[in-house]
Amino acid sequence: MSHSDAKNIMVYVETVSDTPLNGGLEILTKAHKLAAARGEEVIAVLIGSNLEHAANTAIMAGADKVILVTKDNYEMEVYEAILTRLAEKYKPSLILSAGTLVGKDILPLVAGNLTTGCAVDVMEITDKDGNFVFTCPVYGGTVLNDLVIKGTPAVAAVRSGAFEKELVVERTGEIIKEQVGVENTVRAKIVEVVNEMAETVNLEEAQVIVSGGRGMGNKENFRLVEELALACHGVVGATRPAIEAEWVPRSHQVGQSGKIVAPKLYIACGISGATQHVSGMIGSGYIVAVNKDEDAPIFDIADVGIVGDVVKVVPLLIEEIKKIQSL
């Protein structure tokens, strides 16, 4: 694709049960600002069924155009082909998506199809001299990296919580239904979809997360984490050792091989602060850590560090919060 005719920002907005995920909406708001500054448009792409309502939300978040493509199940190769075709047709200069598992799955393939580069884990996008510059944390956030992409379009997967969502009810936009034929592209056949988790845990969208680590000691004590989360109207997170000990299901894992989260408040209880964990929660707004070891690395990134025994501190916290809430 040539540079000259590429303009506008295309955003793939992932939906779950016909509802757009926050990650995509946050990106739309950011894209709106970037595009407006260039006098260009934001084109949202939604794939699924019954998406009219979601399309309106996308417009409120910043989309000028919303492209709806009807498809039932998620199939990587189909989604990838759809986005590639749409990119070829609409010729955006930038393609964005939230860096969820799905986003990370399909974006690199779309980039590969268009022979261009893809930045992942992007936490900031700036427009410098007509180039988009992507800031990404590397080595678990110990270092930041500014990337530019020479190819067109630039493709980037954005880390959840990087941008703030703003829904403006008055905003208007155009909804376009596209038929994208992608016969015979599917080589990996989905034979079955298993909803293995009884509860769905939406860590990525949570405002408050209370996480527990090995320092919680045992399954009974881990209940304290759950209680505290409940009291703060938050969601339970965990480190890998807590999951391996089966104190809590795998869907709660935060970190490199778990979920990347960015709540406003993150309370880490009995967590040492290993890079693999920290890289998943470093984007949190305010980090509170409770650890008995004052040299624990978690304190390096915490806004407030409480040096103390979780088994003593956490129940007091719960009690205090409950007391104040009942006033």
Partner: protein, 262 residues
């Protein structure tokens, strides 16, 4: 069954610092190791070989010292190793890395199954596997957490998605990127290490590739370019609280309330 596993050498520690003046990355020593996720890929390959027979080869792209990880793969049980090493491969991003690996794989012959780790602990883009598959025009499945069924002509696997697991069936040849915990990786065996001490590692350079155009490799072939590397703003507003439990709890609650989180 011919299986190829892609393995990468990564720094042993993620403790890095940026020189504030030059902006150059200072790595804590030069110690390096095999990308932990690739151990799961090797283990998966070895388990399949134990069932069906055949062979397990490994391939890595990197500087000459990356031979270490190939040797480690030998001591786990891999049969042959190839290293793609050439100064002209340096500075590669995902596109150039996957292209180079795909070129290398083409020159090595046909494989029924190519295995990758899900991601690395340094670049951590989780993109290389799926892109190799694109270059080789193979079906691929990422986030593979377990193998359901192994048949003559294909494999059925569980793919981990955020709130569900999809069961995918793919025909050989194909590429799978495996998640941790698919199988517990075995430790390298001392006996195998001694046995394979002198085993030759095939080294391929740009001259061995079908595509000889330098512009498609390394920094030249990389649309993604690092402009600068810098340390994040440090958190200097940090507070550390010591003291008795109830005081701390109260203080924390006040703080949290002040910031309107609850």
């Amino acid at each position: 069954m011919k299986i190829l596993v892609c393995i990468k050498q990564v720094p042993d520690s993620n403790k890095v610092e940026v020189d504030p003046v030059t902006g150059v990355l200072k790595r804590d020593g030069a110690a390096s190791k095999m990308n932990p996720y690739d151990l799961y890929a090797i283990e998966t390959a070895l388990r399949i070989k134990e069932k069906t027979g055949g062979m397990v080869d490994v391939i890595s792209m990197g500087p000459p010292q990356a031979m270490q990880v190939i040797k480690e793969a030998f001591s786990m049980g891999a049969d042959h190793g190839t290293l793609l090493s050439d100064r002209r491969f340096g500075g590669a991003d995902v596109l150039a890395t996957s292209y180079t690996l795909a070129q290398g794989i083409k020159s090595m012959g046909e494989y029924d199954l190519i295995l990758c780790g899900k991601q690395t602990t340094d670049g951590d883009t989780a993109q290389v596997g799926p892109e190799i598959a694109e270059w080789l025009n193979l079906p691929s499945v990422s986030n593979v957490v377990s193998i359901r069924m192994f048949e003559e002509d294909g494999i059925t696997v569980d793919m981990d998605l955020p709130d569900e697991v999809e069961v995918a069936k793919v025909k050989f040849p194909c590429l799978l990127a495996v998640d941790k915990d698919i199988f517990q990786p075995r430790l390298p065996s001392y006996v195998k290490k001694t046995e394979t001490k002198d085993r030759k590692i095939q080294i391929l350079t740009l001259d061995d590739m079908t595509d000889q155009d330098e512009l498609n490799y390394g920094l030249n072939g990389s649309p993604t370019q690092v402009q600068k590397i810098f340390p994040p703003e440090t958190n200097d507003k940090k507070e550390i609280w010591n003291g008795s439990g109830d005081m701390l709890a109260k203080k924390l609650f006040d703080k949290v309330e002040e910031l309107k989180f609850v």
